[in-house]
């Protein structure tokens, strides 16, 4: 019997490229426009591969759709476990190829979607349900995620890489942490490590409203009528911050995106930020380039590609004195 409240969503192969992001952003827009109270069955009959950006977005979308439900008691229950067959969002393993099941199991997405709560070791999918203290994020990245067994880097280089990745997570938690819990923000992350190329790809997704929305709210009285592109440029400019933390207002902030840009530029990697109606990436000269996207994404997707080879980090061994210290 067909359930009129069950929406079937056919997921194709989704890669970490422009068409992959275009598809994901359109999918999020389409499904979040649906009325609440629907069930979703994600099918994978025509999907052979999902890159880390797709897994992170689908995980966050699934959580967001569950929070879209009408029942507050069910919503509370979903805080702990969801994505099972009887619940609102179902990732149908029967529609997946054996290879895809193996890939999504290895990366930790299927154990999570089955509600097994099993933690995988190493780079993979995570749904960040609870607020993590910054120090816990660092320990988690260092001990559980970028494990020494998997990614072989000199200790001081590993510490530098972890430190820069922490900036991404603290940004994600800051994109609305004043108003929303991380659960509601729907922070998910997924990483893949490519041993042969020594490349790490990481996508962090939040549904915290988006950078442009937050900047416009923050600057509303000072700069009415700010365009979306100008709001994005403002957020990327060093020193600018919407001050989503709770400490002294009169304190310098807003270095996260500059540090990421420099980090990516020096190790010849890639950085991509999708938020609301804009996409920002680091160009060959090491500067941000902002372009428009449609439809709007109601949060932020940050993806980095990092070269994990000590050779890219010789500048960290120069012992050169900086301008001040």
């Amino acid at each position: 019997m067909t359930d009129i409240h069950r929406i079937q969503v056919d997921i194709p192969s989704i890669r970490d490229n422009k068409s992959g992001y275009d598809y994901l952003i359109k999918l999020v827009d389409r499904l979040l426009k649906n009325p609440p109270g629907l069930n979703y069955e994600f099918r994978f009959d025509h999907c052979t591969v999902l890159d880390q950006n797709a897994i992170a977005v689908l995980g966050g979308l699934g959580r967001r759709l569950c929070l879209h439900t009408r029942s507050s008691s069910l919503r509370r229950r979903l805080y702990n476990v969801f994505f099972t067959q009887d619940e609102l969002v179902w990732f149908d393993e029967a529609s997946m190829s054996d290879t895809l099941i193996a890939d999504l199991t290895d990366i930790g997405f299927l154990p999570f979607s089955r509600g097994e709560g099993r933690r995988i070791s190493g780079v993979g999918y995570r749904s960040h349900l609870n607020f993590m203290e910054p120090s816990d994020i660092a320990d988690y990245l260092n001990n559980d995620w970028l494990t020494e067994d998997l990614i072989r880097l000199a200790p001081e280089i590993r510490e530098a890489v972890v430190s820069r990745i922490i900036e991404i997570f603290t940004n994600a938690y800051g994109h609305g942490v004043k108003e929303d819990s991380p659960l509601k923000l729907g922070i998910t992350s997924c990483g893949q490590y490519f041993q042969k190329d020594k490349k790490l790809k990481l996508t962090v997704v939040d549904f915290g409203g988006g950078i442009i929305k937050n900047v416009k709210q923050y600057l509303h009285s000072k700069v009415p009528g700010l365009s979306d592109a100008a709001a994005m440029q403002w957020a990327l400019k060093p020193g600018n911050s919407t001050k989503t933390d709770s400490l002294d207002e009169n304190m310098p902030r807003g270095l996260g995106f500059k540090l990421l840009r420099q980090f990516i530029y020096t190790n010849n990697g890639n950085l991509s930020v999708y938020s609301n109606t804009c996409h920002a990436s680091v160009d060959k000269s090491g500067f941000y380039k902002v372009t428009g996207i449609r439809p709007s994404f109601p949060g932020t997707i940050v993806t980095i590609e990092v070269n994990c080879d000590d050779a890219y980090y010789n500048h960290l061994r120069s012992n050169k004195k900086g301008k001040y210290f």
């Binding site: 203290e133 910054p134 120090s135 994020i137 660092a138 320990d139 260092n142 001081e156 510490e159 530098a160 972890v162 430190s163 922490i166 900036e167 603290t170 060093p238 020193g239 933390d245 400490l247 002294d248 009169n250 304190m251 310098p252 902030r253 807003g254 270095l255 996260g256 500059k258 540090l259 500048h315 960290l316 061994r317 120069s318 012992n319 050169k320 900086g322 301008k323 001040y324 210290f325």
Partner: protein, 114 residues
């Protein structure tokens, strides 16, 4: 005075909260014109919120020259030093810009009250 930063932060100098802890120590010392040696032994990870809330915030009340004169930094790895220098540069720009805004506001108020 020697400060073992790990006593405040543990192995991760990341959060604004732990930065605030260091800021109070540094502010007190610099207010008394004491010199401070910051020893980062045992600290592995660093992020901008920590330095913004500690060294960056000091620049609201003290000049960068005084900071360089009174504070010595030891055992901070190269990427941590890069970060400290970025934070200082950002803080200088931030407070200069605030000063300019305050002066501009004051000029407007003065003109309006003439």
């Amino acid at each position: 005075m020697k400060v073992l930063v790990a006593d405040i932060t543990g192995g991760n100098a990341i959060s604004m909260q732990s930065g605030s802890g260091l800021y109070k120590l540094l502010y007190d010392a610099m207010s008394k014109s004491e010199s401070v040696e910051l020893d980062f032994s045992g600290v592995k990870h660093f992020a901008s919120p920590f330095f913004n809330a500690s060294i960056g915030l000091l620049l609201k009340d003290f000049s960068v020259d005084l900071l360089m004169e009174k504070i010595t930094i030891n055992n901070l790895p190269e990427f941590g030093l890069e970060l400290v220098n970025e934070v200082i540069e950002n803080a200088i720009t931030y407070y200069e810009s605030n000063d300019r805004s305050a002066k501009a506001r004051q000029e407007i108020i003065s003109k309006n009250t003439e």
